[in-house]
Amino acid sequence: MMRTAISILQKDLRMEFRSKESILAMWIFSLLIFVIFNFTFEVSRLVMLEIAPGLLWVAFVFSGMFGLNQSFALEKENGNLRAMALMPVDGGEIYVGKFFSVTLIMLMFEALIFPIFIIFYDLQLSLGMFRLIPVLLAGTIGFTSLGTILSAVAVHTRNQQILLSLLLWPLVSPIIIWSVTLTGMILSGEVTEAFYPLLLRVGAFDVIFFTLSYMLFDFILED
């Protein structure tokens, strides 16, 4: 059933590894954010711990927007989006392929930029940091599950990037805000009992966004 999804994922990853266009641009963009903030504000370590989680997610989300735009711009080129609409498969299967490719590329970028973040903001590595893995996964999946379908909508328009921002931000804001809160708890070493219910809430939103997008993607592909 998922033959097409796997084919789309393989194709997207092959193109990304060949050009490194998305990951490299996302990485440089995030690096610039970290450099600018690091050298602009002379703040104490305590204040830094307050702003670092937000800064990390600003970098992830803005770079992620670039990745989303890039993913569907490639499909628009040479009419490949129309070729997808002509494929003898459910739209949902195409959505799954694109979702996994966007998500994997974003997670790879996060893995590459996170060590830079640690160095720039002089954060202490500890075992508790492993809690960041489910937080980054849940936050990223929420962002990309919604971002994938909305960039497929926006790619048909002239102002693709503006429209994607306008559509995506209001809907994805709760997930980003909760992810920032969860990241803050981990970085400050003050993981309270609210941590897991909040993580579960992000996970629930992920499931809702993914399921709705999977069901609706057929309509997006139609003219």
């Binding site: 490639l74 490949n80 070729a83 002509l86 498969v89 003219d223």
Partner: protein, 238 residues
Amino acid sequence: MSVPALEILGVSKDFGRIIALRDVSFSVMPGEFVSILGRNGAGKTTLLNIVSGVSRPSEGKVNLFGTDPGDRENKAKLAVISHEMFLYGNLTAIENLEYYSRVYNVPDAKKRIDTVLSDVELTHRRFDLVATYSRGMTQRLTIARALLHEPSLLLLDEPFTGLDQHAIGMLIELLKKQKDMDRTILLTTHDLHTAAELSDRYVVLSKHKIIKDGYIADTTPDAIREKYFSAESQGAEA
């Protein structure tokens, strides 16, 4: 009597206030080669989009092999060749064809890929990125991509646009071969001589509706030209 491969029943299409098609009806029998002639903006591409299931008609109905064009089974029997390549420049010819063969579940894909690449004389460039191809070579690869899953119905939207004489000759030969294999073919073109050479039947679209529907065998290329242009000018005056 066999079921028509394609039935277009009173199809109209509008995009808000812009009318693209008005009450278009005709059918195509299996193995028939039909050319749709008409000026730019007559509605030819819109009609092919509706037939391929990418777009839905505002009114009317389309049956493909007796069922809805959006059915998965129908989509597997269909191929579209247009000015859009449906190829990825950052992949090689082989990688593009492997991708489509997996999506269309082509049996014995490796052998089939070798065959279609040889048919379009691109075997020697199979490991090169498509971005490095000339326009003619890319169009030839587009044809190979379309024929990969051996479709029963071929929809060709101005396929000769931008091709050199060699590529045009090759495409004509490939289409004749497809016709001999009893494939159903729907072609939109401005080239009346090519339409007359290849088709069994022609349909003229003007001002978003059909104004002529006739058999090539009943006429000559010159007569088609005369009918086509007179019909077009009448359409323009209307």
